[in-house]
């Protein structure tokens, strides 16, 4: 009955024949995902995709200078199974085994201190705050190993600009969640919880300083600092604080957790610097995880982890041996 007449034009189909909303929404989601993947693939060869363990979080390749290094990516398994996240234990295998107790929803971040418009940002708002970018950064751990990770997120400056830092705000401090219920490591006394990190305002506003919400095109695995973390690629990995719940704009330099715990070993700046040794080992070389074999010679570590062209000017005239 192709042509509807007055007799049958208003006959409605059986309720069971109507496509349920869940199904058509799924289809739209699927189309969006495919579209996004296609977009990324056409954008550049980069666009790393994970194994599909977490929800997709695509990002367009970043245009920020230095944000797309050409090094070979560290495999997803290594990136997500070899982690320092002391809230879940001091062994690098602990976070993957134990971080499942972390509840990332609901989640919000308080931004306070010397800001014109301080506030509490829900995770949903943060995810929509700026376009998601994929950035391929080197990560150099203070322990002498390194990885290359495709993060998804945007510059921290996007968030900081919205809260309107006052002229007197010279530093930014960050806190990790410290909930002994969710984080077994917080019940122990390894560090003075919560974990605190800090940056100078110009470091925090640098476009390479990133708020990351995912990696390998998917939302952040819990062991890597879900649901959002900082990534500062020219500093040792411990500066890239995980699972952030509080950001404070300050006029005085904050004391970071490792500075407090071992001031002779860890400084506030902690820039990657092959010429300044850790008291117990040299920082001149590093082992690239998953790429360098057991018997491969360690590779030379680069000044500012290879980001000297982008960030060297931040430290012009500073004695980096003293300000380590």
């Amino acid at each position: 009955m192709l042509i509807r007449t007055h007799d049958n034009g208003f006959i409605h189909p059986n309720a069971s024949e109507i496509t349920p909303p869940a199904v058509w929404q799924q289809r739209r989601q699927w189309l969006r995902a495919v579209g996004a993947t296609g977009l990324m693939a056409s954008g550049l060869a980069a666009a790393a995709t994970g194994p599909g363990q977490n929800r997709p979080l695509p990002g367009v390749p970043s245009k920020v200078p230095g944000a797309m290094v050409m090094d070979k990516l560290t495999g997803y398994d290594d990136v997500t199974s070899y982690n320092n996240f002391y809230e879940f234990g001091t062994d690098k295998a602990d976070p993957k085994q134990r971080a499942h107790t972390l509840r990332t929803e609901p989640w919000s971040v308080v931004v306070e201190g010397l800001a014109g418009k301080p506030g509490r940002f829900g995770l949903e708002d943060l995810l929509r705050l700026a376009p998601m970018e994929e950035r391929i950064y080197r990560l150099r751990c203070v322990e002498g190993w390194s990885m290359v990770i495709p993060w998804v997120g945007y510059s921290l400056s996007e968030l900081l600009r919205r809260v309107q830092p006052q002229g007197s705000a010279k530093f930014v401090a960050f806190d990790t969640l410290a909930d002994p219920q969710q984080m077994p490591g917080v019940r122990g006394g390894i560090l003075d919880w919560p974990y605190v990190e800090g940056l100078r305002m110009d470091e925090a506003m640098h476009p390479l300083t990133m708020l990351a919400f995912g990696l390998y095109g998917e939302v952040m695995p819990k062991q890597n600092g879900a649901p959002l973390r900082l990534v500062v690629p020219w500093k040792y990995g411990f500066k890239s604080i995980k699972s952030v719940v509080r950001i404070r704009l300050l006029d005085k330099q904050p004391v970071s957790s490792w500075e407090k715990a071992a001031p002779q070993e860890y400084g506030f700046y902690s820039n990657v610097n092959p010429k300044v040794d850790h008291p117990r080992w040299s920082q001149a070389t590093e082992r690239r995880i998953g790429e360098d074999g057991v018997f491969t010679r360690k590779r030379p570590t680069l000044m500012f982890n290879g980001y000297e062209a982008q960030v060297g000017s931040l430290y012009a005239g500073m004695d980096l041996r003293r300000n380590f």
Binding site: D77, D78, S81, Y82, Y86, T90, K92, A93, G144, W145, I190, L191, A261, A262, E265, D277, P279, R280, W281, S282, R287, I289, G290, V294, F295, R297, K298
Partner: protein, 203 residues
């Protein structure tokens, strides 16, 4: 029938048991099953096994006296050499995997860092004991001097523990350090207590 502690197979079985961790690490390194950072696993595990073997060898004499089993002394040399072999593997892994066998670099590292120096000093003492571990060396040195030299195992315990403590101080994680400290303190404390009691008895 020989005493069960004098059975040859028992010695070989113990040797197999002591070699097992080293062989499984070697197998893991060759099969690439040691995780994301196999070099770190090799360096740390050989260090851990050095400390464990050290606790074992220091337990021989107390066990011999408590259990009234003089034949246990037969296993002391094997256990002592096990400590040396694991310490040697530990040093080799560090020198090769971390330092690329660059001897000048290694020399500078030892001179520059107390953490490395203390570990290396313990190794030198273990080397001296390993080189004088056979019967002819005992005869050549004379029992008294040989015993004095081999008492440096007590110093090795202190140096090894300090090395481990410094290594863990970076992570502020002293739980395992405390376990080894308690074990070694008990084993050395027992000797001290016994020596004092004997001196009092004689006086």
């Amino acid at each position: 029938m020989r005493h069960w502690l004098a059975q040859r197979w028992l010695w070989w079985a113990l040797l197999g048991l002591l070699a097992w961790p080293a062989l499984s690490l070697l197998q893991g390194a060759l099969a690439n099953t040691l995780g994301a950072n196999p070099a770190e696993v090799l360096i740390r595990s050989t260090g851990d096994w050095t400390l464990r073997a050290l606790c074992l060898v220091l337990a021989v004499t107390p066990a011999r006296i408590w259990l009234g089993q003089p034949l246990l002394a037969r296993y002391r040399r094997l256990l002592g050499l096990t400590v040396f072999v694991y310490a040697f593997l530990h040093l080799l892994c560090y020198a090769w995997l971390d330092m690329g066998l660059d001897l000048a670099d290694i020399g500078r590292d030892i001179a520059k860092r107390n953490f490395i120096l203390v570990g290396f000093a313990a190794f030198v003492l273990l080397l001296a004991m390993a080189l004088t571990s056979f019967n002819r060396a005992i005869r050549a040195l004379g029992a008294r001097r040989w015993q004095a030299l081999h008492r440096s195992v007590y110093a090795v315990a202190g140096l090894g523990l300090l090395h481990f403590f410094w290594m863990r101080s970076g992570k502020q994680d002293f739980a395992e350090v405390a376990v080894y400290a308690a074990l070694l303190a008990a084993l050395l404390g027992w000797r001290l207590w016994r020596a004092l009691r004997q001196r009092m008895g004689r006086a």
